[in-house]
């Protein structure tokens, strides 16, 4: 998903979930920050690099694809953008390695989603915003995995856009080109995607790169052959999926705010219904960027002007704070939430016997070990325990 949904739609969803104006801003800021918090960004703040929630294009191009590099990539992308739906799924064929990769396929309403939302409970707007980003992406990025894998993430020329609705649906072949700088041409069905690389672990085979930005366009409806689906066609209906994502975000944030336990496959359609026509209209509008439409909708919902996303909004507070106090700043709390999410997802993947996301050490059994950045997590847990 893009800024239009992660920032503006999350803001609207937070409002409908009953959050205050300030909370809505913070949650939506953090939901969008997940797409900006790269190692480059963290290095500029002197922040722990393990808190990275994304990798920029050029970072990816330079990323090493040895064992450690792949584990690092998988940790980031599976934890924040391609949350696995079912870590115990059985493809019915292939060896262990293939099965582990298949189990990383993203999809909505998995057990990990429940864990993600519950992890955010009582941990502030930063954790909520981060969880909402993860939740939204489970809808948009389904059928792809957050690990470089040709056999899971590849696509071929059997890729068709479905234009129109109902009886007047027209099928048009999607044409891909490998020019990341040129904008997608919606009129002529020309989209950018990553180059085909036969190497299993190539960065080009990470996530939905082979499908370009199509999963991130709320208006797009298309059908294609996922590499793992044995020639069965998948029809992706983004307007419907994004609608579900929005309703589920409202439900999730309401649960977190009221203390109600979060359950998968539940949606707050009752709260969203008064705005359904407006939301579906924005979702279905064929345009590269729906930020303006979402912003206007958000301003109508709340009656307050909504500022555009400003990456630098909380940076000065972080930089001005003493090193020992940084974890208590706005960004500090976001970084700790990111570490917690990454730690949780890595642990779940590790427990299935897969080393794709690396090694996870159970703190309660073996104490602290491994990457020092995660000491921040230990301190937070200790503080929470002390507080209780």
């Amino acid at each position: 998903m893009q800024e239009d949904f992660h920032y503006y739609a999350t803001y609207c969803a937070a409002h409908l979930a009953g959050h205050t104006q300030q909370e809505c801003r913070e949650i939506s800021y953090c939901a969008q920050l997940v797409d900006w918090c790269s190692r480059t960004f963290l290095a500029s703040l002197g922040a722990p690099s393990s808190a990275a929630t994304t990798q920029l294009q050029l970072e990816l191009m330079e990323a090493r694809t040895d064992l450690l590099g792949l584990q690092d990539i998988t940790r980031i992308w599976s934890s924040f953008h391609f949350l696995p739906r079912d870590l115990h799924a059985d493809p019915g064929r292939g060896g262990r390695h293939y099965r582990h990769k298949y189990q990383l396929v993203c999809g909505p309403n998995g057990d990990l989603l429940k864990d993600t939302v519950e992890l955010a409970r009582g941990r502030g707007t930063q954790a909520v915003g981060l969880a909402m980003h993860v939740l939204a992406d489970t809808w948009a990025h389904q059928h792809f995995a957050g690990t470089p894998s040709l056999v899971i993430n590849n696509t071929n020329n059997h890729f068709f856009e479905l234009l129109g609705e109902g009886d007047s649906v027209r099928v048009r072949q999607v044409r891909f080109r490998h020019n990341p700088t040129a904008p997608d041409d919606l009129e002529n069905g020309l989209y950018a995607n990553s180059i085909y690389q036969q190497d299993e672990n190539s960065i080009m085979n990470l996530g939905h790169g082979r499908a370009g930005h199509l999963p991130d366009y709320s208006f797009a409806r298309y059908r294609y052959l996922p590499a793992w689906a044995d020639y069965e066609e998948v029809v992706k209906d983004n307007p419907s999926d994004y609608w579900n994502a929005f309703c589920q975000m409202v439900y999730a944030m309401r649960c977190l705010r009221t203390g109600e336990p979060f359950e998968t496959n539940r949606y707050a359609q009752d709260a969203v219904r008064p705005w359904e026509a407006d939301i579906r209209s924005v979702l279905g509008k064929r345009q590269l960027d729906s930020c303006d439409d979402w912003r206007q909708l958000g301003e109508r919902m709340t009656g307050v002007a909504l500022d555009p996303f400003d990456l630098a909004a909380y940076q000065q507070e972080y930089l001005d704070a003493a090193r020992s106090d940084r974890v208590g700043t706005f960004l500090g709390r976001f970084f700790v939430s990111a570490l917690a999410q990454k730690s949780m997802v890595t642990n779940r993947i590790f427990r299935t016997g897969s080393l794709l996301a690396g090694v996870s050490i159970e703190y309660e059994e073996k104490g602290f070990g491994g990457i020092k950045d995660y000491l921040l997590l230990v301190r937070r847990v200790s503080e929470e325990a002390l507080h209780e």
Binding site: T40, S50, L58, E62
Partner: protein, 176 residues
């Protein structure tokens, strides 16, 4: 990374550096070794592709193309090994391409880091160094020794990275 893996990485790194040193000291032998390494790489690459197809690729839509590609690579490697002389220009083009691509990516990354006011000078320096190596490949295309020296430089660089990664802390802690 397990202890055994770390030891293996360090040993491979040291072996690569030793190999690079030997090839630099005896360039004629070095060129033959580079040609041999290319031949063996192609053969192993072909076998790897075929193995990949058998374990994973055959479950993928369009996976059979991997098998055919593997067979082609294998045959290319066998032919390269059977040739009386390996064209020097082919090896040079391969090295030139690798260094140029690396260099350009690093320079672009340095620009991006500068935009974020993050440390960028080291990345820029590495990028420029790689581009200069690519230029050297073009300028000294006719020199057999240059092929060897450039190959050895790449070997030493990747060996250092391999050794450094063996000492990186990798595990992450999970807390309930």
């Amino acid at each position: 990374m397990s202890k055994a893996q770390r030891v293996k990485e360090v040993l491979l790194g040291l072996l690569s550096i030793a190999g690079a040193a030997l090839m630099t000291l005896v360039p004629d032998l070095g060129y033959a070794l580079v040609a041999l390494i290319m031949c063996v790489s192609l053969i192993l690459g072909g076998i790897e592709k075929i193995g990949y197809y058998l374990t994973m690729g055959r479950y993928m839509v369009g996976g059979r193309s991997i098998f055919y590609f593997g067979i082609l690579l294998l045959d290319m490697g066998i032919l390269a090994g059977s040739l009386s002389t390996t064209p020097q220009s082919l090896i040079m083009i391969y090295l030139l391409g690798c260094h140029l691509l690396d260099g350009v990516v690093q320079v672009m990354r340095a620009r991006e880091q500068r935009g974020f006011e993050a440390p960028w000078k080291l990345t820029l320096a590495q990028g420029i160094a790689n581009i200069l190596v690519a230029v050297a490949c073009i300028l000294f295309m006719g020199s057999m020794n240059t092929v060897v020296y450039i190959y050895c430089a790449g070997l030493v660089y990747s060996a250092c990275l391999r050794i450094a990664s063996a000492f990186r802390k990798t595990a992450i802690v999970y807390i309930q």
